[in-house]
């Protein structure tokens, strides 16, 4: 398979759609252990990214599209998720550098770079009850599957499965990053909102890889 900027436009639009559908639920999760705005922030960021990327000329290179997404997300959101996802998109852009079309391999490296970017920006380790608990295992699982020769859709299936497990695992974690880190054991029993939205994004990417036949 290969991925063009046009494909990416559809992907970002699909992500934005799924996040929009989960907006209230994400706010509710954030209301329990944060400040209740995660759904609003993610929705605003994804809509802005989808709009900005959607308006691009399809001839533009993927790297530029990712950078446009980063900037749009960043300007739309002042919350923690703003810099985290803006960094993810910027690293995606760097990973896609100099390519006009992305191969499966490129696409996986883009995915891994996003996870890496989030982790570097937030300085969070797995187990600290953040979106990293979804992103990091997902990226690791996808790379593992790729290295053992699985085709891209199956790599993303593995990623989605790992993200779901990671997301669910946050429920029993204490928080060591973000607003929730100030609540001590009051956070036990609550899923991290950032991990929940990460799962939605990763699932959208998996679906996209599934149905994509470039």
């Amino acid at each position: 398979m290969t991925f063009t900027t046009e494909d990416l436009q559809r992907l970002v639009a699909a992500i934005a759609e799924d996040i929009a559908a989960a907006r209230d639920q994400l706010c509710e999760l954030d209301g329990a252990i944060g400040d209740g705005d995660h759904g609003l922030a993610m929705d605003a960021g994804c809509q802005a990214a989808a709009k900005a990327v959607g308006e691009l000329d399809a001839e533009i290179a993927p790297t530029a599209a990712f950078n446009v997404a980063a900037k749009a997300f960043l300007n739309a959101v002042g919350a923690s998720s703003g810099p985290l996802y803006a960094t993810a998109f910027m690293r995606a852009g760097a990973a896609a550098k100099d390519k006009q079309v992305l191969s499966d391999d490129d696409f996986l490296r883009v995915f891994a770079a996003m996870a890496q970017g989030i982790q570097e920006r937030g300085k969070a380790e797995p187990g600290e009850k953040t979106m990293v608990d979804a992103w990091k295992p997902a990226a690791d699982a996808a790379l593992d599957a790729w290295q053992s020769g699985k085709p891209l859709p199956q790599c993303f299936e593995a990623a989605e499965r790992a993200a779901r497990a990671g997301c669910e695992a946050t429920s029993s974690m204490m928080a060591a990053k973000g607003r929730a880190s100030r609540l001590g054991d009051r956070v036990i029993g609550h899923i991290d909102p950032g991990a929940a939205s990460a799962l939605i994004i990763i699932a959208a990417m998996a679906k996209f890889a599934q149905h994509h036949d470039g």
Binding site: A79, S80, G82, A86, G122, A175, K177, S181, R186
Partner: protein
């Protein structure tokens, strides 16, 4: 919810516009209203920039002016400004000597300011001081450490005076970081604040309850307790903050009682009176005082007490003239 506002969506923008119009003699909007800056900048002085979510007024825009900040950015309620806003402030305020960004210790603020520095760092000398004065979050012993609350005012005032005297960027950062280790705050709420967007109180307290150890974003504190006398409440706050910083010999105390938005001046002065007594009982000499509503959490009823242990040089900087909307002194015989 009864608030003086038109719509929840426009509330922050209208309030900030009112601020700029009321103080148009010395502040102006930056391009696209992304920041607020001094009307007249001083060439070659390090620019001091800060910012944070709305809902904490007069912080930080009320600290823009001679002797304190050069520019400030306002985010949505309780939400960091974006890197794009911060970069605009940098571009507006940098007159050649670089910018020091004063950031309160929250993941969201830190990441947005860090990104701004990365994105603008090629064209400006930039550095950052992180303020983390809130006692409470040091208790959990986790996360990125304590929150930044009312003590931020002290850091911005002292760094502002030092910048005015020509202190270079690296020294300013060092001064700010040293200062930050000697400031502690703790807050108490008698009632939550009401967030305009949700029309909900950040937390609701019964008629005989109070929340100990609150921050400035409506986060719950470490304990809900029965309401009691100001001596008991303030005594507990003072005990906790004074117990958390060792009074090095020769340092002098600045005692700051800060209203969280819905507490009237008379109660703040009464609380200061209690606080002053408790701190002095610990043989800590209170040399400077500040009492007022400076760092708020919307309309929250409550207050925080901040203790800062200052060197003689820092006291001089604290006393130096300042002319902002919220803090103004010096220069009169």
């Amino acid at each position: 919810m009864k608030k003086f506002m038109n719509t929840a969506e426009t509330m922050v923008a209208e309030s900030v516009e009112g601020f700029v119009r009321a103080h148009e003699a010395f502040v102006v909007f930056g391009p696209e209203r992304k920041c607020i800056r001094r009307r007249h900048l001083t060439l070659g002085k390090v620019a001091l920039i800060s910012g944070g979510g709305a809902g904490h007024e007069p912080m930080h825009i009320g600290f823009v002016g001679h002797g304190m900040l050069d520019a400030a950015c306002v985010g949505h309620i309780f939400t960091s400004p974006t890197p794009s806003q911060i970069i605009t402030a940098i571009e507006e305020a940098d007159t050649g000597a670089g910018c020091l960004l004063v950031v309160k210790n929250y993941d969201g603020d830190l990441m947005n300011f860090e990104m701004a520095i990365e994105m603008a760092g090629d064209h400006h000398s930039l550095d950052m001081v992180v303020v983390s004065d809130d006692i409470e979050t040091s208790r959990t012993g986790e996360g990125r450490g304590r929150r930044g609350v009312a003590g931020t005012l002290i850091v911005e005032k002292i760094l502002g005076a030092a910048a005015e005297r020509g202190m270079p960027l690296a020294e300013l950062k060092q001064l700010g970081e040293g200062l930050n280790t000697r400031i502690r705050s703790m807050g108490v709420a008698l009632n939550g604040g009401t967030v305009p967007q949700t029309e909900r109180m950040t937390f609701a307290l019964g008629p005989d309850e109070m929340e100990m150890g609150v921050g400035i974003h409506g986060e719950p504190g470490h304990a809900r307790q029965p309401f009691t006398t100001s001596d008991a409440i303030i005594g507990h706050l003072c005990e906790t903050i004074a117990g958390d910083i060792a009074a090095a010999p020769g340092t002098k105390a600045l005692l700051f009682v800060n209203g969280l938005g819905g507490t009237p001046p008379a109660e703040l002065y009464l609380s200061y009176n209690s606080a002053r007594r408790f701190i002095e009982e610990k043989a800590i000499p209170v040399e400077r005082s500040l009492v007022g509503t400076y760092v708020t959490s919307l309309d929250m009823q409550g207050l925080s007490v901040t203790l800062a242990l200052l060197t003689d040089e820092e006291i001089v900087l604290w006393d130096a003239p300042v002319a902002t909307a919220a803090l103004h002194w010096g220069g009169i015989p």
